[in-house]
């Protein structure tokens, strides 16, 4: 199980700042979103617009082995400024 950090609307939808999710190897942005949608189907619409960060860097097609992953986060559309 991996700890996945949640923020903003996504954290609000599941009323948690982080969740434990099983992630298949190799880990990619897609596998993180799929695991989240499976455990929390209500987040599916928001997940479409989310990005994934691994080790505090945005990832798209990169894949990771479990031992490379220190931190995973789901990033809803940002709205700072």
């Amino acid at each position: 199980m991996f700890t996945v950090k949640l923020f903003a609307v996504l954290a609000e939808q599941v009323a948690q700042n982080e969740v434990q999710l099983p992630l298949k190897t190799p880990i990619t942005a897609a596998t993180v979103k799929q695991a989240m949608a499976k455990k929390f189907p209500q987040t599916t619409p928001v997940l479409t617009d989310c990005l994934v960060a691994v080790n505090q860097t945005f990832v798209t097609d990169e894949s990771f082995q479990p031992e490379e992953v220190r931190e995973v986060a789901l990033i809803p559309p940002v709205s700072g400024g």
Partner: protein
């Protein structure tokens, strides 16, 4: 030099400006984003900003270092927490040798901060609460 931060307290505009001043650089442009009351027909009363703080600082540092390398001092500070109308949410400042580049680089920085730094606003409007504000 560059300075970036996620701030939990009100921004001190004078202190942030002072970090930019440098006899090398004759043009200083700052952008300050404040909480605006009206967006078309929507009235805002307050905004709560949250951040993925560690990653936000990393992203802001990358941006600041990129502009600093062109020949500038750069400050990027974003506030988090509960902000009232007219409170400062973000300060972006660039000091460069000439004014045209200071304007360009400052605008580039705030545009890019808004696109890719993991910070979110929860906007308390008179009709409802909006994540990210009116679309």
């Amino acid at each position: 030099m560059h300075y970036v931060a996620i701030a939990t307290q009100p921004l001190d505009v004078q202190a942030l400006y002072n970090k930019l001043v440098d006899p090398q650089f004759g043009g200083i442009v700052t952008f300050i984003g404040t909480v605006r009351q009206w967006t078309a027909q929507v009235e805002t009363t307050a905004i709560e900003y949250t951040a993925y703080t560690e990653m936000a600082v990393k992203e802001m540092t990358k941006l600041a270092a990129e502009v600093e390398a062109k020949g500038a001092n750069v400050v990027i500070v974003h506030r988090v927490g509960h902000l009232a109308l007219a409170d400062e949410a973000v300060f972006v400042g660039v000091a460069a040798a000439h004014r045209a580049e200071a304007f360009d680089w400052c605008e580039y920085l705030i545009n890019t901060v808004k696109e890719r730094v993991p910070i979110w606003k929860k906007e308390f409007d008179t009709d409802k609460v909006r994540w990210g504000g009116p679309k």
